[in-house]
């Protein structure tokens, strides 16, 4: 059975803090790993990772994949209240299934 596990499930930080979110997976036929941000309704795409060790960056957000140890991390630096959201990790498999983890709820307090 394919598994995608995110940790922590939730965390509360203050503005300016750095946040590190974890996603580990045990799947067959891995193709890619994706991160999404969900604020109200539709999740929005953040990053897609296929290769180990190559960091993807977008502003204050960055992510990296380790295919040997089967995990990814998402970092958010200098957090702002607008970063409050559920962050979702998903793994895309060879049979075109896209499986998500349980998500990490991040709350940034002013």
């Amino acid at each position: 059975e394919d598994k995608v596990v995110q940790s922590p499930l939730s965390l509360v930080v203050h503005e300016g803090d750095t946040v590190t979110l974890n996603c580990s997976y045990e799947v067959t036929n891995f193709r890619s790993l994706l991160w999404y941000k969900q604020e109200k309704k539709a999740p929005t795409f953040l990053f897609m990772l296929t290769s180990s060790g190559i960091e993807k960056k977008s502003g204050r957000l960055s992510s990296i994949l380790d295919k040997k140890e089967l995990f990814s991390i998402l970092n958010i630096t200098a957090t702002q209240t607008g970063d409050s959201a559920i962050y979702l990790c998903a793994v895309f498999l060879n049979d075109y299934k896209l499986s998500f983890g349980a998500g990490t709820t991040v709350t940034v307090r002013a």
Binding site: L34, M48, T50, F92
Partner: protein, 114 residues
């Protein structure tokens, strides 16, 4: 450009009533289509996915079914709703043959079974 439409946005249904949620995609052909359910404040549970017309893969045995009568139409149904069917339902699409799996989501339907 591609767009995804999902309706209705909210729905309140009595226990035992039928359900039909519809999702359509515009601007692309042969998409992969997905139905997810999300419990309050939690991650996405994959319910069904489809790689072509009439091809439905079910991930979770349950009270729901899915159909894909046309290439860009995906329908989630139930004959008799249960209280446990309440939740936030999201439809998504991805490019056929994609190597990355990047999916695009509709705005969701919040279903409350009373």
């Amino acid at each position: 450009s591609q767009t995804i439409h999902q309706w209705p946005a909210t729905l309140v249904q009595p226990v035992g009533s039928p359900l039909s949620l519809e999702c359509t995609v515009e601007g692309t052909s042969n998409p992969n289509l997905y139905w997810y359910r999300q419990a309050a404040g939690r991650g996405l549970q994959l319910l069904f996915y489809s790689v072509g017309i009439g091809q439905i893969s079910s991930e979770v045995p349950q009270n729901l079914s899915a159909s894909r009568p046309q290439d860009r139409q995906f329908i989630l149904s139930s004959k008799k709703l249960l209280l446990s069917d309440s939740g936030f339902y999201l439809c998504a699409w991805g490019l056929r043959g994609s190597r990355t799996g990047k999916a695009f989501f509709g705005q969701g339907t919040r279903l409350t079974v009373v």
